[in-house]
């Protein structure tokens, strides 16, 4: 009997380890031989721990499982109270286009053989037969843009590094996924680590970089464990090292752990942190592509950008580019979170409207109350009201509504949310996490908290002051932390003015 029990952090946080132990104990008591594969998550977090049993018809899903549900797995599976049917036939899976996440939840994350059986290393082998310029052109042609949030064309960044002359170049993977509501990086690293390794190796060959680092946040202990082990396996198998797959191209990489600073998700402060310095933002120029890690030309890409490279090289730029809308090409792994009935990871072509995602895919709130606001793109993203639910999911489309898609996390709030409180939190968070380099962010965020508190006490004169402060932070900050904190603040103020109205606040007190 072969079963899959996820080792994904969300599944473990909901009791997957206890379920796996119960399966082993039950099997031993019954004298049945079982093989348990600890896979990644299929992304249906509301069904975790989701156990799969391999049958002749395919993989059958059961969830959410508890240890008490385990004995019935050894009886008639069709009668199991948690039976969901074939995993691949579930509506959540059927409606997706899984390119970056094709293997996540399907394979054993630490089996290189399993990885290769599911299309792994095809992209890298193809890249090894191409010249550097052709690989870069393929990535540019695919239309892939930085999935960390900035949306900069990946191919153009690579071209700059490829054409720079230096004795040493680097590939740095930004795995400092600090935005609330996002977990795609974590899921891919825990569920399919070799795809990130392969993507980094391709980036190295395309740009002439021979060393790589993954800067992985310390808040992800499970991802650190899986990635560290995967790098060791890849090195032993010759995927990494002095001659990648015997090609003569050198590329090797290491995992580095962050230390709890949100601002290190910003690429220049990440580079400083990687160098062993305070995670203070650097002014640009010089671009990291020319003077990055230790002053050398460096590609800094998000996990999802790099993990998408193998499928682009495997299936071709045109295949990838065919998905999407406008200038947002390909697929985007949506992360649906917060107060939702059906939360998790849903990879789909760009272009669904916010309403289709929140009311349709997520099924509304977990509490059953009406949706009041959706924060898209992390703590620096705007709060969208229901009136903007017709906005299609794309970089430019969200920008046009004074918002951003960021790393594609969506946090849903029901009607109990107080938007003034959320605006205050945005400023408070910026004050805590500011690196201190530029004044609008360092001082502005502190003054922002005070100004929101004045509004809360009924001082209407503080509202234009808050607007003015937000303008200063937006145009005067060095990086996105101070520059984008105005998005959640101003969107809360603009779309939910009642929560900032003095009369209502006084009546409530």
């Amino acid at each position: 009997m072969k079963l899959y029990v996820p080792r994904d952090a969300a599944a473990r946080g909901l009791g997957a380890d206890e379920v796996a132990d119960a399966i082993m104990a039950q099997a031993a008591a019954r004298g049945v031989t079982v093989e348990i594969v600890r896979n990644g998550s299929r992304g249906m977090v509301w069904l975790e721990p989701l156990v799969e049993v391999v049958t002749d018809a395919g993989r059958l899903a059961f969830g959410p499982m508890t240890p008490a549900d385990v004995p019935a797995l050894f009886g008639d599976l069709t009668q199991h109270p948690k039976a969901l049917g074939l995993t691949d036939a579930l509506p959540w899976m059927q409606k997706q286009t899984r390119l970056t996440f094709a293997r996540v939840g399907v394979i054993d994350p630490l089996s290189l053989a399993d990885y290769e059986q599911h299309g792994g290393l095809v992209g890298l082998r193809r890249a090894l037969g191409m010249d550097s310029a052709a690989i870069v052109a393929e990535v540019t042609e695919s239309g892939l843009r930085g999935r960390g949030g900035a949306g900069f064309p990946t191919g153009i960044k690579w071209k700059t590094v490829a054409e720079a002359k230096a004795d040493q170049k680097y590939i740095v993977c930004n795995a400092d996924e600090g935005d609330s509501g996002t977990f795609a990086d974590r899921m891919v690293m825990e569920g399919d680590p070799f795809t990130l390794i392969e993507g980094m190796a391709i980036a190295g060959i395309a740009t002439g970089a021979t060393r790589g680092y993954v800067y992985l946040r310390s808040e992800y202990p499970d991802a650190i464990e899986v990635m560290t082990e995967a790098v060791a396996i890849a090195r032993k198998a010759g995927v990494l090292g002095a001659s990648v797959l015997g090609s003569g191209h050198a590329f090797d990489m290491d995992i580095r752990t962050g230390a709890g600073a949100y601002v290190c998700g910003e690429e220049t402060s990440l580079l400083n942190s990687l160098e062993g310095k305070r995670g203070v933002v650097r002014a640009k120029p010089p671009l990291p592509a020319l003077q990055g890690f230790l002053g050398k030309p460096t590609v800094v890409n998000n996990v999802i950008s790099l993990a998408t490279i193998p499928v682009i090289l495997e299936r071709g730029a045109a295949f990838y580019k065919d998905f999407g809308l406008g200038r947002s090409r390909g697929t985007i792994p949506l992360q649906i979170a917060g107060n939702v009935k059906h939360g998790g990871l849903f990879e789909v072509a760009f272009g669904l409207t916010l309403g289709e995602i929140v009311d349709g895919i997520a099924g509304g709130t977990a509490t059953g109350k009406p949706v009041k606001a959706v924060q898209v793109g992390g703590p620096l993203g705007a709060y969208f009201p229901r009136t903007l639910f017709d906005t299609p999911f794309g970089y430019e489309e969200f920008g046009a509504k004074e918002g951003l898609i960021g790393h594609a996390g969506l946090v849903v709030f029901d009607d109990s949310a107080d938007m003034l409180k959320q605006a205050r939190f945005a400023m408070e968070f910026c004050a805590i996490e500011s690196c201190g380099k530029c004044t609008p962010c360092r001082i502005g965020a502190v003054r922002g908290v005070e100004t929101v508190d004045r509004i809360a006490k009924g001082d209407a004169a503080a509202i234009p002051l808050l607007t003015d402060l937000c303008n200063t932070m937006k145009s005067g900050s060095l990086c996105a932390l101070g520059g984008f904190t105005p998005y959640p603040v101003m969107s809360a103020l603009t779309h939910f003015p009642d929560d900032f109205a003095p009369a209502m606040k006084e009546a409530a007190e």
Partner: protein
């Protein structure tokens, strides 16, 4: 328990040797020292500074920049509660207030019996099963008041 400075010099020296030749070694060194001691002893800073050819102020500056590094030992168990937006949407503020009441401490404090240190954390990536917590490095999802009480009972 206090560490003698000679013991620290020897152990930190070993850690520094293990990081010889590494590019940008300071964060990995601080992590390794914290892993060994549970915090970064003050006496370790001048030793690191000398080996990396930095000033003691620079090492202190790096260490104090990051939330993870401790100057003093934590309690026997560390309970981190996520305070970010997705968890807020599912009642994290209420659960945090309950934790503070129950333990009789504020953020960054340790209970009088030295058992539990309470810390805020901003996102554990468990945003679709919020509110989330990290108990001695182990993730826990859907933490309501009852589950939190069970966690506290479990470690005490």
């Amino acid at each position: 328990m206090t560490q003698t400075s000679t013991e620290i010099a020897a152990r930190v020296g070993e850690i520094l040797n293990a990081h010889e030749g590494m590019e940008g070694p300071l964060l990995p060194i601080l992590h390794a020292i914290q892993h060994a001691y549970g915090y970064v002893p003050r006496d370790a800073l001048p030793i690191i500074a000398k080996r990396l050819n930095l000033t003691r102020a620079e090492v202190h500056g790096v260490m104090s920049f990051y939330h993870d590094f401790r100057e003093d030992p934590a309690g026997r168990h560390v309970l981190k509660l996520c305070r970010a937006e997705a968890c807020q949407a599912m009642g994290a503020d209420r659960v945090a207030a309950h934790a503070q009441n129950r333990l009789g401490i504020e953020w960054h404090q340790t209970t009088k019996d030295g058992q539990i240190t309470l810390e805020p954390v901003f996102c554990l990536g468990l945003c679709a099963c919020a509110p989330a917590a990290l108990v001695d490095g182990k993730v826990v999802g859907r933490v309501d008041e009852a589950r939190l009480d069970a966690i506290i009972e479990g470690v005490r």
